[in-house]
Every structure is written in C-alpha cells, then in structure tokens.
Assembly symmetry: C2
Homo-oligomer: 426 residues x 2
C-alpha cells in the first residue's frame, strides 16, 4: 500500500484516501449464516488470508455461528424467567467469542496469523443499557497493534463494554452497526458486509422474479428501504455509515460477485431518469390497532415503555383512535398496551408496501402513478402516507404480493440498465 498519497481532485466516497504514512485496512463483517458451520468459517478465513497475502490489513467482525445466540437465549430463560440483564449479556456474548476463536484457528491452519478480540478488548465502548446498548466510542488500540504485528484481526460483533467494565450486547442491528463503527474508528472508508443474499434488490426477489440487484444505492435510499421493511440491512448501521462517510458493500459470502454498494451519492444535478424510484419495500404485517376513549399520548407512552415507536395515529369519530406501530408484531404491541391497562384490539391485519426514492414526497407524479397502478389492479389502499423518501400504502395482506409486483412493474424498468445488475437467476 502506498504510504504517502497525494490526493487529487475532490474527495468523494468512491475515492480511497489513505492516511499519509498509514494504511487503510479492509473491514469486513460476516453474518450468522456466513459463519454458520466449520466449512463457512474456513471459507471466510480463506478470504481473509487471500486478502492479507495481497497486501491488505484485514479486520473481520463476526456474528455468532448460525442461530447460536437464540440457543443461548433459550438456555437463559430455561434457567430463569427473569434473568438479570447483565448476566444475560455475559451469556449471549459468548456466541461471537466462539466464532472468532474458531476463525482464528482456521486462519492459523492456513499458515497465517490471526488474533481474536472481544468487544471490550477491541475498545468498543457503550452505554450500560444491557441488551440494547448504544455505541459511545471506539478506541481501536489493540486492533491497530495486532495489525502492526502482521495479524488478521477478528472482532466479536454485537457487543461492547460499558463504563463499569461489563460486556454489553447491542440489540437489534448491532452486529452491522458495530462493524461500521469499527471501520469509522480505523479511518476506513469502506466496510464490506458479507451476508446470505447477493445484495439489495429493487424488490424482494422471492415476490418479484424480475427484481434486479442494485449496483449502487445511496445511504439515504437504503435507509428508506430498510425503514419501509427491506430487512437486508438495519437502519442503525446505515445511519452510522451515513454520519461517518462509510461506503458499505453488501454482498453474498457464498459468491465472489459484487453486491450492492451503499454510499455517498453521485452528483446528477436534477436530471430525471429511471433512477427516481430506488425500489419497492414491503412489510408483511402492519396492523391497524384501535383503542377507545384513550388519547394518542397515552398510547405513545405505553408503546414507548416497550421501546415501540408509534407510526400514524388517526383520531376518528366517537372517541375511537386508530394507530400503527410499524415493524413490530401485533402480540408485542397489544402486550405493551395491556401492560398499561389500555384495552386495544387489532382493527385490521394489514400489510404495508412503499415506493422508495429520494424526494418522492415532492413528486406528485410518482404518488399519483402509484395509486393509479394499484387501483387498476383492484387494490384499494387502507391508508396512504407520503414521506420525504417514500410513499407508503397499507393494503389487505392477501393483496400484498400482487401490489408489490404491480408497483415494481410500474416503476422499475426490466431491460438492462447501467445502474442495475442482472437478477439472481443469471
């Protein structure tokens, strides 16, 4: 790697700037399915060693193997109905320690050297909210030392250390978030996230056979897709990437093909084209709940006590209040209301889907076309919400897949497009 590089031109997300006198490491993350068994761990180790032999410093953040974290959780709840959260974190964090230690052994077997570091050892500092800790800071001292020693570094994802010196787990989206945070702390401009899908698609390819893998997508677009239900990457990690200027390469660990680059936008002024709609995201369950003679503030407070964010709240005649709680299941939502003795019922089981694209909130043509296309297919929206980055519609669940296909056909060209890769069947 060049030790001294003169930067020319304007710094953009796609240009790599090396710290003068230093090297920018590769920062990779492997998800649970990508390290699910010994074969997968060896395959990951092979990639790391190959990269190291090509001259790169490699830092890999690993998830626990397969569904081992769920198994650990089950063990905890078998032991106690109310396990102390500190101890629960001490238990759950071992999953990542296992995968990192095994991966380190695999690297050694390949003739190279790797050091596994726990979250605390890697300098990942969090608050003390066990089970849902937030990343406060990262001081990657030991990571840098190990790299300087010529080692590949394996870091346990999903965890960190609180100020009181205890292991904390990061909650939903924590693995991807910790990987992006480590990249930021190391001054890397990119973070590769290896997962079990080939990238981000214009719609769920299991519903839309014509869906194509996106070659590149902006942070803000990915955020909207994720917020609207596309589960491939959590908003939390995307937000971190956005604020720290990190480009994420989301790709399959089961292939050598490029995936989707999620990063800073390319400038295009205001020229319109086929890129105005990024894709169609959906969520199978988005219920419409109803309460009577209860105020929106009470509902929001009951939901917040369980960490649930209210979506839209619509007061109706006769003291009825209808509301949504996107991204959270009905049992969890009604339980939150029960806990505050608010009798709630699911008025309607619905699904949501969204046409995602930056600035769609100011594109009346796209809003109108979305609804016209659904209407032509006989699909009546139960609620329409326009947001800056998407127009979202609630529909009857039996019509969801058809609705997704209809909107995809309306907005996403099927013919090859420079911005789209060919779909998964190719």
């Amino acid at each position: 790697m060049e030790a001294n590089v003169v930067a020319s031109g304007i710094c953009s997300g796609t240009q790599q700037l090396r710290t003068v006198g230093g090297r920018e490491p590769l920062v990779w993350k492997f998800g649970g399915t990508s390290v699910a068994d010994h074969d997968r761990l060896r395959a990951a180790a092979k990639r790391m060693v190959a990269a190291q032999r090509a001259g790169h410093d490699v830092v890999a953040i690993l998830s626990a193997m397969g569904t081992s974290t769920d198994a650990l959780s089950a063990m905890a709840y078998e032991m106690s109905a109310r396990p102390p959260l500190r101890e629960l974190d001490a238990l759950l964090s071992v999953g990542e320690s296992v995968s990192c230690a095994l991966a380190s052994m695999a690297v050694a077997d390949l003739g190279s050297h790797a050091v596994s570091l726990s979250g605390p050892q890697a300098g990942i500092r969090t608050d003390d909210n066990h089970g849902n800790a937030r990343l406060n800071d990262i001081e990657p001292v030991r990571i840098r030392e190990a790299l300087a020693d010529g080692s590949i570094v394996l870091v346990t994802g999903f965890q960190g250390m609180s100020e009181s010196g205890d292991v904390t787990t990061l909650g939903r989206g924590g693995s991807d978030a910790s990987a992006v945070a480590v990249a930021a702390a190391l001054g890397a401009r990119e973070c590769e996230i290896f997962t079990d899908v080939p990238g981000v698609f214009t719609a769920d390819p299991r519903i839309v056979p014509d869906a194509s893998r996106l070659d590149r997508i902006r942070h803000e677009e990915m955020l909207e897709m994720a917020e609207a239900g596309a589960a491939v990457l959590q908003p939390r990690a995307v937000e971190l990437a956005m604020t720290h200027g990190i480009n994420i390469h989301l790709r399959s660990s089961f292939s050598t093909e490029d995936g989707t680059w999620i990063g800073q936008a390319e400038g295009r002024f205001e020229a319109r084209g086929t890129f105005d709609v990024t894709g169609i995201a959906h969520r199978r369950q988005e219920s419409l709940y109803g309460v009577r003679d209860v105020e929106a503030s009470e509902v929001a407070a009951a939901l917040a006590a369980r960490g649930i964010a209210m979506g839209t709240a619509v007061p109706r005649a006769g003291g009825l209040l209808e509301f949504t709680a996107p991204g959270v299941g009905a049992p969890e939502t009604t339980a939150a209301l029960d806990a505050m003795e608010i009798p709630a019922k699911v008025n309607e089981n619905l699904s949501s889907l969204a046409v995602v694209g930056l600035g769609i909130g100011r594109r009346p043509d796209i809003i109108a076309h979305s609804l016209a296309a659904l209407r032509a297919a006989g699909i009546a929206p139960r609620l329409v919400t326009t947001m800056p980055g998407r127009v979202s519609v609630l529909v009857d669940p039996s019509l969801l897949e058809e609705a997704v296909r209809v909107l995809h056909a309306t907005f996403i060209p099927v013919a090859p497009d420079p911005r789209l890769m060919v779909g998964p069947a190719a």
Copy 2:
C-alpha cells in the same frame, strides 16, 4: 491559495481539498432582500472585493432586487391572462440581469473588476419546462475564464438555458439550487448563502423567543426542517448540496457574524445527548380536506396535474376520504380538485408542527414525550404522523404557537450549549 496541497487525514466535509494545481473559488449567493436596493448591492460588492483582495476567486449568484420578480410577473398578467410560458421566462429573467449588472458596476466603482453572466452565459443547462425548469448540467466555461482573468463573476440566479436555447426560470427554490449547483460545477466544497435571517434556528424566533441559532446542522436535518415548514432554505437546494457534498453556510447579509453551517455530519457514533432533536418546524396552514365517494388515486391524480403532492390520505366510513396536501394553500388545492370536477371541501383548517431530528422515527421516547407535552398543555393532535426524520402533528391553528413553544421547551435546552449559538437578542 496553495496550488498543491497534500491531503492528510480522512477527507471530511469540513476539510477543504483544493484541486491540485487549481484554486477553489468562493461561491456566494445573495437573496432578494440582500440586494434589495443600491445600498445593499454596494454592501454585497464590498464583501466580494474584500474577499478578492484577500486572495480568493469570487463567484456570486444574485437574486433579483427585492420583490422585482413579482412586479415583472404582475406586468405579464396585466398584458395577458395567459402569457406564453416561454415569454414569461424571457421577462422574469431580467430581474437577475438587473441586479448582476448593477453589482458589477458597484465592484468597478470600488476599483476592482467584475463580469456579469446570465444563466445561459454561465453554462447553466436545464430542461425546457418553462417556469419550473430542472437543472440538467452546468458547464462553467465562461465562469472559469473570467476568474482566470482576475474578475469577480456575478451569475444570475434562478435561471438557465434549455436545449433549444431559450432562457428558463427554475421555479420554487431555484435561486438557492442554482447557487449550490454552480458550486458543485466549480468543484467548490462550500456555498455561502446570504439572506435576511442570521441562520437556522431551533424554532421560528418570532414564535419562540428562546430559540437559538444552530451553529451547524446536517443536510438531512435541514431537509426535514424544510419539509416540515421551516422556510429559510428550500429542500431542493439542500438535496443538491447533499448529493454533491457541498456544505452550505446560511448567514445574514446584514451582519458579519457566522450563521448556520449545513453540511456533512460529524461522527458521534450513537452517543445520545441534547443533539437528538434538531428543532421544531411548523406550517401555519395544513388543511384536512374531505371528498366523498372518490378514490385516493383520483385525488392524487388531480393534485398531481397541478404539481401538488398528496400527504396523508385516510379513508373513513361512509365513503369519506380525508387527505392533506402539505405546503400548498387551500385555494390552490381545491382548485386542482375542481379542475377534475371533484367536489372537495376543507374539512378542517389546521396547522402542522414537527419535532425534527434524525432517526426520530425510531425514538419512541421522543414520540411519547412530544404527545405528552402537548397533552399537558391541553393540545389534542388531530393527526400524528411519524417519519424517519420527524414526528409531525396537526393541531388547531389557534393553538399552533403555544404548541411550538411547548415542544421547544420540552426538547431544546435553553442553557448555552457548544452546538448552539446564542439567540438573536444577544
């Protein structure tokens, strides 16, 4: 300016990278009130000359003087009830030509040299949508040549040239957008926008005396504030700045104090603090309209025909459909529906306000606190909508100002904060 700069460290929005061998010009924009009369024009010219004498290249994009564009528009409609749009643009564009030519004369009087360029001369290329043209590309050849000659360059804002060689005006937000676009085309990382307010405040200071000027704010936060009604900067310009990596310095032309920097985020991982809520934005008019036995798709289409984006649409019992059209007045909205022979009435005249902050959609605590604070003040929301970057509430217009003050008091600390500048009274 250094002709060759070795970049050290990680490129961030706050570091200036100069093109190796070139210079990055200052790109300024002066709004209508900032060039409203000869004295203001001279004041602007003085700033430009001072900067040039300090060694900078200066490009200034000017709006028309004061409300002269409105006066020109009135002249057009006095001449014809339906003026051809091409001719309307040819007429309206003279306003900026006047201010730029006068400013150039003022610069000459100060002993320096300035060249005024129209949008077409400056290489600003648009589509042919007269009155609402979109920026396709900018080739700043003459701007560069004039700078190389040692001139200050004055560019007419709000206009460009269509492919057929006609002057086009850019529509709402076009002045700020053209300035940001020129900055991008010249490789500048910053654009200073001089206006008649000292910056972006945590709420409208005319409603909230405690409101403070924000020292810096992220692009995404400004976008949310603007979408939610904060009129100081149009979403269009902010989006352009975001996609082109331009930091905007929004400041008063009547003072030498720093204003608000709108740009790339500083990394803070996930640490919480007082920065979670950016501010409170509001919109005085956001009506709730009602139609009967008409589908949401028909309403959206009627609105789209007039360039109006539907907000939220709520089907109710008995064939009633309620909807909003944020940012557009009731006369315009009902006219759009009349044009399609859809009888619409304003069900309720309402106002909207929003608690703005990145990721608020996933902050149930902020959502709950917002509603609780309003409830404690006896303010019942007519509709609650949660979006990724804000929670928005419709209220009775007579309660709007109280609601804004209540929410500001709830979320924005009054004590001096490193991130906030002292409010306008200081």
